[in-house]
């Protein structure tokens, strides 16, 4: 008995050691990011690891030195795009997933299959075509174009929310119909109040998308610096011409947006797990 207890203590301490080492390895890049954001010496590559002197300049320069990289403006751009994208996509996703989950009509199966097939094409295969469509509409390089790109086809992301609506008992609808409600009021007054988790999940994911995407922005905005979003702007700071001067500023800018995103993610992680595992695991 004693030996087995000793063994389990040994095993547990081994696990603590492994976990600590892994934890440190996993946090090193993030710690380094924060450290570099306070580094006074410029340059991406230094012959030493820890900064030799510290400063807050990198943060203040983000907001004062806006000649080439207009961080505050990009921040506002991203915020505007994120708010509108979030509003539009949430409505679209909820309507689509609710309809496909709970309403019964003739072409429903066909639409479900179509959604499945469309999701299998690589998303940015069509970005050039989208660019030209926006150009034909006279919208290229504008924030409105970006909002439309992010939220336009958002209805296709119905899977997770549909999985949620599928689990709400149908009897609720039937009871409401007996009480004289029409389908519209059932959605707004009965199902929606029950769906807080999925609404929060949809809102947060669609709000976060514009902060982390740089592919579509770069195709749509091309060289219109004023309408860049944070992600693309920060990406530009690391090009060969800029990296020496702006590397530390990149780190500062990255820290500033990583904080809110991290907080949001930690809040929504439980919805995230149930969302991802919902369709992917057979019970």
């Amino acid at each position: 008995m004693k030996s087995s207890r000793a063994r389990s203590i040994a095993a547990n301490s081994a696990i603590y050691v492994i976990l600590s080492v892994m934890g440190i390895l996993w946090l090193i890049p993030i710690a380094w990011l924060v450290l570099i954001s306070f580094r006074a010496e410029p340059g991406a590559w230094t012959p030493y690891i820890l900064p030799q002197s510290y400063t807050l300049d990198n943060y203040t320069r983000l907001f004062t030195d806006t000649q080439l990289f207009n961080y505050p403006r990009w921040f506002m751009n991203t915020l505007i795009v994120a708010i509108f994208t979030c509003l539009i996509s949430t409505v679209m996703v909820l309507m689509t997933s609710y309809t496909l989950s709970r309403l019964r009509f003739k072409s429903r199966k066909g639409l479900l299959n179509l959604g499945l097939i469309l999701g299998m094409f690589p998303g940015f295969m069509s970005m050039i075509a989208i660019y030209y469509i926006l150009k034909a509409m006279g919208l290229s390089q504008s924030l409105l174009a970006l909002i439309m790109v992010y939220s336009g086809a958002s209805g296709l992301g119905y899977f997770i929310a549909k999985g949620f609506f599928d689990t709400i008992p149908k009897a609720l609808d039937e009871a409401a119909i007996v009480d004289g409600a029409n389908q519209n009021t059932i959605f707004w007054q009965i199902i929606l109040p029950l769906s807080k988790p999925i609404v929060i999940y949809t809102v947060l994911t669609s709000f976060m998308a514009p902060w982390v995407d740089f592919i579509f922005v770069s195709v749509i905005m091309k060289d219109n610096y004023n309408n860049y979003t944070i992600a693309l702007g920060l990406y530009q700071m690391l090009t060969r011409e800029n990296i020496y001067r702006y590397f530390t500023q990149f780190c500062a800018g990255a820290v500033l947006i990583a904080i809110p995103i991290t907080i949001l993610f930690v809040i929504m992680q439980k919805y995230y797990v149930s969302g991802v595992t919902g369709g992917a695991v057979k019970g």
Partner: protein
């Protein structure tokens, strides 16, 4: 072991069960494929019959229709307008007028140019009177193709409205014949919020999907059959149809391109395999360690790893690519230890190993999050009996945990595999596909098919090649996803909750 009785099946170990299922799956593949072909054939036949019947029904309606109904074939909305549904009739009439104006002024012209995609290039012409060169606008193949696709969409949409107009006219005629009161527009609008709520709810999302997914996708699929590359950029140079030439080039006839494709394709599969399974197994071990009985501060450990998910990938990966550069912090550190600079990202083999290792950093926390819950559900008596039999930790993991998990999460694994085939961020942000190789056409040694597609589009403007690759990626992901769909059977289960 051809087919086991259920009782024999349950006595197998989980790993054997998996092999048995795989074996059965392969054995039944020919029959399943034949089934599928037959079913598709049957479906097509049924569709054709239904289509023929529908077409005929419009003939019958015309024969049985009265003047008002027959007039609807020519003037849309007549069947509604003349029977008192004024608003509805006017809407139909307006749509018809708009369609005719669109087609006459614009649509027909575009469709006429579709077979050639334009022949007149932009030209300079000397203007004698003003003594200057003037530009004459030529055709633009890109716009012709785009507007042709739009026009075809509009034609189909109009056809749908047109047929609806006829059906409505006939329904009205029959209802009027029975002496019923015809529903007005108010009633229709009210129905949109009740019986026809799906129309209201889906109209806006579908419009968005058509405009930003279907239309561009069809456009890009068509591009794969043209020669729209760097040297055929309208308006200066036009492009035209070339049939399957792009696919021929990729597969065999252009040596550089096909070598690149084969190389990148193989690496894509190798990458997807290692990226998926390294993450899966290591992530599971991490989850097991955190969830082990007697380990304290579980929430703390979990949060440590979750934080790394939460930092946007373009931040963490860009930073790491700079850390791992030849003069980066990692090599400075190794220099302290007396180890020479390691070419983490600059030689092919090292770069490939680096991206897989860094992907472990990126992916393990996800696996940990997702598998934690399932790991807790493994029946405890399995572990108990293993312990009594004297199995060690490793043996328990390889004989109980892993087979059980693979068994339960096969769909998740395949989804991950597909996700890794299309894993743009990790590769593009870390190595940019590099190190570049002279053997390859516009690609590097760590490029995946998707990153190659992206580079061909954005840096090289070889849209035709990129589209062809996109179609190939689609075929790969589609066949894998079909597998998931069949394995998970979620399509069949969806009703069982309600």
């Amino acid at each position: 072991m051809i087919e086991l009785e259920y009782i024999d099946y349950v006595t197998l170990s989980p790993l054997r069960r998996l092999f048995y299922r795989l074996f059965q799956g392969i054995r039944h593949l020919p029959r399943r494929t034949a089934d599928l072909a037959q079913r598709t054939g049957g479906r097509i036949r049924k569709r054709t019959v239904a289509f023929g019947r529908a077409a005929k029904s419009y003939g019958i309606i015309f024969r049985q229709g009265d003047v008002k109904t027959r007039l609807s074939y020519l003037v849309m909305g007549a069947g509604s307008f003349l029977r008192g549904q004024v608003a509805k009739g006017l809407i139909f009439l307006f749509l018809q007028a708009a369609f005719v104006v669109y087609m006459v002024t614009f649509g027909v012209g575009q469709l006429a140019l579709l077979p050639t995609l334009g022949i007149a290039t932009k030209k300079e012409i000397w203007n004698e009177k003003l003594q200057i060169y003037e530009y004459v606008q030529g055709d633009n193949s890109m716009l012709i193709l785009l507007f042709s696709v739009v026009t075809i969409f509009i034609v189909f949409a109009f056809l749908g409205v047109y047929l609806a107009n006829i059906r409505l006219a006939y329904r009205n005629q029959q209802a009027a014949g029975r002496g019923e009161h015809l529903p007005g527009i108010v009633r229709d609008i009210r129905n949109l919020f009740d019986k026809n709520l799906h129309v209201t709810f889906l109209s806006l999302p579908s419009l968005g999907i058509v405009m930003f997914t279907i239309l561009p996708l069809i456009f890009m699929i068509l591009i794969a059959f043209t020669n729209y590359d760097k040297s055929h950029q309208p308006p200066g140079n036009l492009f035209t149809w070339v049939g399957l030439e792009n696919f021929r080039n990729i597969f065999w006839s252009n040596p550089t391109q096909s070598r690149t494709f084969v190389g990148i394709f193989q690496w894509t599969l190798v990458w997807a395999f290692f990226a998926t399974f390294s993450n899966y197994i290591l992530g599971m071990i991490l989850a097991l360690m955190i969830n082990k009985k007697g380990i304290r501060f579980k929430k703390f450990w979990r949060t440590v790893f979750i934080v790394t998910i939460a930092v946007p990938q373009f931040v963490s990966l860009l930073l790491m690519s700079r850390m791992l550069a030849d003069q980066g912090a990692m090599n400075v550190f190794l220099g302290y230890l007396g180890i020479g600079p390691v070419p983490f990202l600059t030689t092919a083999l090292f770069a490939r190993i680096t991206v897989i290792v860094i992907n472990i950093w990126v992916g393990i926390p996800y696996t940990m999050l997702i598998t934690s819950g399932i790991l807790m559900n493994i029946p405890a008596d399995l572990y108990e009996s293993a312990r009594i039999d004297g199995a060690g930790v490793v043996k328990t993991f390889t004989h109980i945990t892993l087979p059980y998990m693979i068994f339960v999460t096969t769909p998740y694994l395949i989804t991950q595999f597909v996700g890794n085939i299309n894993n743009f961020n990790v590769i593009y942000l870390l190595t940019g596909g590099g190190p570049l190789s002279l053997d390859y056409y516009q690609g590097g040694k760590t490029d995946l098919l998707v990153t190659w597609l992206y580079k061909l589009t954005v840096n090289n403007q070889d849209y035709n090649l990129a589209s062809a690759i996109g179609i190939i990626i689609f075929l790969i992901t589609a066949s894998l996803s079909l597998l998931v769909y069949n394995l998970s059977g979620s399509s069949r289960k969806e009703e069982s909750f309600q």
